[in-house]
């Protein structure tokens, strides 16, 4: 077990089930991912479909180990809410970054890379690269 602090990953989806399942899948597919702090922030506080600023801020605080936090989102209000929170300045831990990546593929790449001890730039680059893996 390394002493190194790992980058945290926050997964923001309109659905609590989607966020939690993608977190479980990404951790399941990445070897040695148990140590990576992955926090889902899905749906509204009432359990409906939507985005909750409170749940995002709580997830980011949970995932923060001092090495930065990479936030991946699905679409629409999830993207806009994270951007608005980042613009606020004091709502999310220092060194929190919205990563432009496909939600599922990016999450897997981010968790694998974070598990290997990469820094926030490395995690971001890996998640972004997921856009380049064409399927046909």
């Amino acid at each position: 077990m390394s002493e190194e602090k790992l980058v945290g990953i926050v997964l923001v989806s309109h659905s609590a089930e989607v966020a939690a399942s993608v977190a479980a899948l990404a951790k399941g597919l990445a070897g040695g991912a148990e140590a990576v702090p992955v926090a889902p922030a899905g749906g509204t506080e009432g359990g409906g479909l939507g985005t909750s600023a409170e749940l995002i801020a709580a997830a980011a605080a949970t995932a923060d180990r001092g090495a930065g936090v990479a936030v991946l989102t699905d679409l629409g209000s999830a993207v806009l809410t994270v951007k608005a929170l980042l613009a606020e300045g004091d709502e999310l831990p220092e060194n929190t970054r919205l990563v432009d990546a496909p939600f599922l593929e990016g999450a897997v790449a981010a968790v694998v890379t974070a598990a290997a001890g990469a820094d926030l730039d490395g995690v971001e680059a890996a998640a972004k690269e997921a856009y380049d893996y064409r399927k046909v």
Partner: protein, 199 residues
């Protein structure tokens, strides 16, 4: 000059207007969106009304900053961060003055609308709230009534437009022929401003 009480009354008038028009906003949103704009805006502005009563911020800038923060927390849809950013950027631009002039408000609102455009990446004509807000800000120099008319016209003029941002953009050509819900609620916000100014 416009003081904190004026801005509180503007926010309260917006809350009342959103309450009255919630069904219409949701009906517009069910045509080209996910049918939650009315209830989202109602929940957000109800929270704004409560927090302004509880915390009684004492400058125009503080009223708008607090209101915007509340919208980001409570709306749960894209209109939360968008309206939240509009009010917070506007509030920030007003600074800490106890009273502001109409010209200062017009300038601050312009900064707010620019914040919305940057956040959502929308330009004029994309069938979004920008189509009501930008003309309103341009017209504000000629008075609050002119701003209201410009916002209402801007909202109506979204009917023939093709949506290029937000959920409605997935509909492509099928978004044509419907008035944009966000532009409609933006016109309510500006109408509430004019109503507050007219007393």
């Amino acid at each position: 000059m416009l003081d904190a009480d004026f801005f509180r009354r503007w926010m309260t008038a917006t809350a009342a207007s959103v309450d009255r028009e919630a069904d219409r906003l949701t009906a517009l949103d069910s045509a080209i969106g996910d049918a939650d704009h009315g209830s989202n805006m109602q929940r957000g502005f109800a929270a704004v009304r409560t927090t302004l009563a509880d915390e009684a911020p004492d400058t125009p800038g503080a009223v708008l900053m607090l209101s915007g923060r509340q919208l980001i927390s409570t709306v749960g849809g894209a209109s939360g961060p968008l309206y939240g950013t509009l009010l917070r950027r506007t509030g920030k631009a007003l600074g800490e003055a106890a009273e502001v002039g109409e010209e200062q408000l017009a300038e601050a609102l312009r900064a707010g609308v620019q914040g919305v455009m940057k956040l959502g990446g929308a330009a004029l004509g994309d069938k979004t709230m920008v189509d009501a807000l930008l003309p309103a800000v341009e017209a504000l120099g000629s008075g609050f009534g002119a701003a209201r008319e410009a916002a209402e016209k801007g909202a109506k003029d979204t009917v023939p437009l093709l949506a290029r941002k937000g959920r409605a953009s997935y509909l492509g050509e099928r978004s044509i022929g419907h008035q944009d819900p966000g532009a409609t609620s933006s016109a309510l916000l500006i109408a509430a401003l004019a109503e507050t100014a007219e007393g």
